[in-house]
């Protein structure tokens, strides 16, 4: 098959579209982050997210979050059909500002934790989890 100049251009455009598309998939997660932080900048340190590197079963993936001095921690799974996972709001009598739970992941993806500190700043941590069997019953 011969490639004309027009075909080559079309192929190039297709390749560009493919690389841009994955960013759209994360749009829902970005919206959730923007709503939580109000668009504020996020520090890279201050919040710890503990998640397994490989999860055999996406139905129950144990995770733990910890952020000293946080008032709230939001956990997101960017690759899920709905990115929200949970928001932990710490009260007056919270001990260490940590919590652990078990979550569902649809597939291999990044899990994101964003902590809102008492002084109004934000911190973010993310961890890539490889999922062998997805947890959305598909």
């Amino acid at each position: 098959m011969e490639f004309t100049r027009r075909d080559t251009l079309a192929l190039g455009m297709g390749a560009v579209a493919l690389t841009v598309l994955p960013f759209r998939a994360n749009a829902a997660a970005d919206d959730a982050i923007a709503e939580f932080t109000g668009g504020a900048a996020m520090a890279d340190t201050g919040v710890t997210l503990t998640a397994p590197e490989i999860a055999e079963n996406g139905n129950t993936v144990p995770i733990a979050v910890e952020a000293e001095g946080a008032v709230a921690i939001m956990v997101l799974a960017a690759g899920n059909p709905t990115p929200g996972v949970a928001t932990f709001n710490f009260g007056e009598l919270a001990g260490a500002h940590s919590a652990s739970t078990r979550i569902r992941l649809a597939g291999t993806q990044d899990v994101i934790a964003i902590a809102k500190m008492a002084d109004g700043s934000f911190a973010r941590a993310s961890s890539n989890v490889k999922v062998t069997i997805g947890g959305c019953g598909g």
């Binding site: 928001t87 709001n89 009598l93 001990g95």
Partner: protein
């Protein structure tokens, strides 16, 4: 009301004043995400517990907003500071309006 919902809480019966204690909670619940389909291909409607709170003598310890990505039989582990003798009250709020409660008394050792 979802059937067979049974809250289980592990909390110490006594603590030193001002001590941070670890609390573990588990509640048996389907947590139907709304993503699954039944044999006819129609989506099974969402039915989850959407909020969990823990209070000590009326003061908030933790308030968790839960979304469908929380696993079946939601489990939480967190810490609470016990300033005095009193009751820890755990509350789960279901999508269908049901509220499940459990209370654990903590004495000062």
């Amino acid at each position: 009301m979802a059937e067979g919902v049974k809250p289980r809480v592990k909390a110490p019966s006594s603590a030193a004043a001002g001590e941070a204690v670890v609390l573990k909670t588990l509640i048996s619940h389907q947590m139907e995400s709304g993503q699954r389909k039944n044999a006819d291909g129609t989506a099974i409607p969402r039915s989850i517990i959407n909020r969990f709170t823990c209070e000590f003598n009326g003061t908030s310890v933790i308030d968790i907003k839960m979304e469908p990505a929380i696993s079946t039989n939601p489990y939480f582990e967190f810490e609470a500071v016990i300033p005095e003798a009193g009751d820890l009250k755990f509350t789960w709020y279901d999508d269908d309006g049901s509220v499940y409660e459990d209370v654990k008394s903590v004495a000062i050792a």
